[in-house]
Amino acid sequence: MLSSQPRADTHKEQRSLAWKLHIDVPLLLGLLVLMGLAQVVLYSASGQDIAMVEKQVARLGLALAFMFGLAQVPPRVLKFWTLPLYVVGVLLLIAVFLVGDVALGAQRWLEIGGFRFQPSELMKQALPMMVAWYLSEHQLPPKFKHLAVAFGILALPILLIAEQPDLGTAVLALSSGLLVILLAGMSWKLIAGLAAAIGGFLPILWNFLMHDYQRRRVLTMLDPEADPVGAGYQIIQSKIAIGSGGIYGKGWLHGTQAQLEFIPEHHTDFIFAVLGEEFGLSGVLILIAVYLFIIARGLYIATQAQDSYSRLLAGAITLTFFVYVFVNIGMVSGILPVVGVPLPLVSYGGTSLVTLLAGFGMLMSIKTHRKLVSA
């Protein structure tokens, strides 16, 4: 598979080693910097619990190993397994719908052989892969009938996830699929029509499809002060934390909102508030710069990919990652509703880590399994 022919490259040795290991060095560096920063913030957010940081680092190690493993799999193999993965994902979602565990008022978990996991997490990656696979099987830009099928592919699992109910995951999965369609070259007329249709659908969604707690979250987002001890509490405390950080922050381990536990879920979904409080606007700038670098590198890898499937998949993975970032920071800073999305690669927790790094593993695979056109 690998070409043995030499390429004009100034970093020949490094490149060839990274090439052999199927690693994209800039992307890996970006991820490692982000993860390093994350552990610093997590130590403070956990109430200086080094055991918690150690546990998260162990999970990172496992997730990175999984990433490296996936990077070894060539895109064509990924493409081959896409349809089965999607079908299994949908079946599992149906299984959850029928027999899943209820936790925190939502049915998300499935237990297989003593191992609990959320099929919706699997679907977050399987869905863009499936849409990319289907669209890349036909001439691009996609024709209307192919688009209709693509939307059908999207709709089935999204509705199952939304029914659990898990609005956050549904939105993220939907956006990852939509991103594939947009990147594939859906015409602007259709995009405008779709946007209008969504605009018309929103009242229906609000009135008939959304659960009470989801409506409350949106209302709370629009006016958190209206319910300061109830639903608005999280957002108010999080805004106080970020705002009180100022330009330079209160200093590591010195955020009163964080250390005194006024910030809710301060080591998971709201960890960005801890960063904002302790490191201020300067810390926020650094974090966003690192994210931007990773996203830019991902898009670069996507444009360099050699077939439609790889391109669409790489672009979708990268932009989904961005959606995560935007939704989380938007939620913590009070401009988006609280939808329970972790800050990618920073929040404490293992599930989203594996999902995300699986995506980056596929990116690296796409980057390092190119056929050399110049040969």
Binding site: G243, I247, T256, I295, L299, A302, T303
Partner: protein, 636 residues
């Protein structure tokens, strides 16, 4: 497969579309990230000050600190009321899931009575659930240790050190000092809630209540950092509380105990005061009770027993016990007679053993069957001749008698800084019309002459009137507190005159005072036996107040009268005669004769006070004596 050229062309086209869309996506990403940064700028720069203040308010809590209650000392610095640190078991109701189960478990370690539980429930229901409530007070060392080992089993329950009021002398000073107790709802409405934020106890009775404002002090604050659960992490600033003022009383602890011992098991009251200042030297009411019981909440069984006791231990006899004054008022009536010119020192009244109003067959008897014969003013006081005073009162008339005795302090509050006194009854024409809806009859005045009839006085009033006699006209309002001390610096309270001096000419004072001196210092005086051998000069007057009406021509037989209806023994006196330092009033309930039962108590009190540190005196004779004064019998 289409031809390769077409495929390549398609690939290029697809690639170009993708590239354009990717660039667009990147632009969108940058725009959206810029929106986030703009939001961050607004939060962290534009609105920074507002959020900074909010964060500070979040973490800082003010915790009130109770001021230490002022201590109470006697005139020599003996502590009468102190603050003792003890351990209490506190529960924060909010933090306990199942209160009943927790208490049941706690009971295996610490004795919690039903009464403790009721108190706790009552307090809990009127407080906010995050406020700690005391479940048990005064834990023993063993109980503290037992809890400490098991504390992990009881979230929301803790053992806390507390300052609790303690009365080291217990019963002896209960009626003199009063006591503190938990703040109840009615009191809560009257106090400044800010200043009492950390205070659990408030003066309920007596001096503790009267001087509550001075004793309490000013609340302090601790500015602490708390986490979201309200746990205190560290102290940022401390505004110390200002302790309450200490009270230095006129009271003499030794004298108080001497007076208590002198009364023994006798129900009654003793008041000793310094006529030069009005300062109360001793205030005894027997029987007493242990005021410490009330501080942390008295068990209802004990309280009911105290309330139900026929001895009435909770009743402050010295300030609220009202008795007919009996013969003790005779010197005061004699003074009025001299002043008004109704009698002179040489006037002689013939005592045949009874007195009759003109045109009436009703006989007012003398205590001595057969009478005293010809009686002068001096002799009338020494022997407490009733006929002399029936006659004098009749001649004076109630309209001259009432104002005179009101000036002396009867029928009104004397202004003791204790807040617990009663006014008693000083009969007058107006009083009888208002209260009895009856006219005043001449016979009513006759009874007033020997301190009987409708008349009732407190021991305090007797002492106050006696102080005015001892000072020959002037008197000061009776006072418990001599000085208030803020952090050890005493501020003396000056004596306050009790109205105008009594306008009596010196030549009228002389005979009455001399007669009072002879009452206890001359061998024919009714108090002579009690004061025999006292190493100081003294003067006084006995009284035996009737509680039981003897039928016409019948004899009062002490043995045949129920204990509760026996005569009250009264005594007033002062010493030394030339320059009085102490005035004593004694009321001994159902004790019989003033000379034999009340005067010896006064003797013991005076002995102690005037000979402190000099020597111990032989106990005064207490035996019954023939020729002892008896109550004047009103015949019906």
């Amino acid at each position: 497969m289409p031809p390769q050229a077409a495929t390549i062309k398609d690939h290029i086209r697809e690639s170009n579309i993708f590239f354009a869309r990717s660039v667009l996506a990147l632009v969108l990403v940058v725009v959206l990230l810029s929106i986030l940064l703009a939001r961050m700028y607004w939060l962290q720069v534009t609105e920074h000050d507002r959020f900074k203040t909010l964060a500070e308010n979040n973490r800082i809590t003010l915790i009130p600190i109770a001021p230490a209650r002022g201590l109470i000392y006697d005139r020599k610095g003996v502590v009468l009321a102190e603050n003792r640190s003890m351990f209490v078991l506190e529960v924060v109701p909010e933090q306990v899931k199942d209160l009943k189960a927790t208490v049941a478990e706690l009971r295996q370690l610490i004795a919690i009575s039903d009464n403790d539980w009721e108190h706790f429930q009552a307090n809990r229901l009127r407080s906010r659930s995050f406020q700690a409530q005391v479940l048990r007070s005064n834990l023993s060392d063993t109980e503290v240790a037992a809890f400490s080992v098991n504390r992990h089993r009881f979230p929301g329950v803790s053992v806390q050190p507390r300052l609790i009021r303690h009365y080291p002398h217990g019963e002896a000073f209960a009626h003199a000092l009063g006591y503190v107790g938990r703040i109840n709802e009615k009191e809560l409405a009257e106090i400044d809630p800010g200043n009492y934020k950390a205070t659990q106890y408030i003066g309920k009775l007596g001096i503790e209540k009267f001087y509550e404002k001075e004793l309490h002090g000013t609340v302090g604050y601790e500015e602490v950092e708390t986490d979201v659960h309200g746990r205190v992490l560290r102290t940022l600033r401390r505004v110390p509380p200002v302790a309450g003022k200490d009270l230095h009383l006129h009271l003499d602890a030794g004298l108080q105990q001497a007076a208590e011992q002198a009364l023994g098991e006798q129900r009654g009251a003793v008041i000793a005061l310094d006529p030069q200042t009005g300062g109360i030297l001793a205030l005894v009411s027997k029987p007493g009770y242990d005021p410490n019981l009330f501080v942390t909440g008295i068990p209802s069984t004990i309280y009911k027993a105290l309330r139900a006791s026929p001895e009435q231990p909770l009743f402050n006899r010295a300030l609220r016990g009202t008795y007919p004054p009996g013969s003790t008022i005779k010197p005061m009536l004699a003074l009025l007679g001299l002043k008004e010119g109704v009698v002179t020192p040489s006037t002689v009244v013939y005592d045949p053993g009874f007195f009759q109003l003109p045109k009436s067959s009703h006989k007012y008897r003398d205590w001595r069957k057969g009478g005293h014969g010809a009686v002068s003013l001096e002799f009338s006081l020494m022997q407490s001749c009733d006929i002399y005073y029936y006659t004098l009162a009749h001649k004076l008339g109630i309209d001259r008698i009432s104002p005179h005795f009101e000036h002396l302090g009867f029928g009104r509050l004397n202004g003791l800084d204790n807040g617990d006194e009663m006014a008693g009854i000083l009969p007058s024409r107006a009083w009888k019309r208002a209260k009895r809806r009856e006219a005043w009859y001449p016979g009513d005045t006759v009874n007033i002459g020997i301190g009987q009839g409708f008349w009732s006085v407190t021991s305090l009033q007797l002492a106050q009137a006696t102080a005015r006699l001892a000072n020959r006209g002037t008197a000061y309002q009776p006072r418990m507190v001599k000085a208030l001390a803020q952090s050890g610096v005493p501020e003396a309270l000056p004596p306050v005159p009790d109205g105008e001096p009594l306008a009596i000419a010196p030549e009228h004072w002389g005979p009455v005072m001399e007669a009072m001196r002879k009452t206890s210092m001359h061998e024919r005086g009714t108090a002579y036996k009690a004061f025999k051998g006292a190493p100081y000069t003294h003067a006084g007057k006995t009284g035996t107040a009737q509680r039981f009406s003897v039928k016409q021509n019948a004899k009062y037989d002490e043995k045949n009268v129920a204990a509760k209806l026996r005569d009250n023994a009264m005594y007033i006196g002062f010493a030394p005669f030339e320059k009085p330092e102490i005035v004593v009033a004694v009321a001994a309930e159902n004790a019989g004769h003033g000379g034999s039962s009340a005067a010896p108590v006064a003797r013991a009190v005076m002995d102690f006070y005037l000979n402190q540190g000099k020597m111990t005196l032989p106990a005064p004779g207490m035996e019954e004596d023939v020729g002892e004064e008896e109550v004047g019998g009103e015949e019906r």
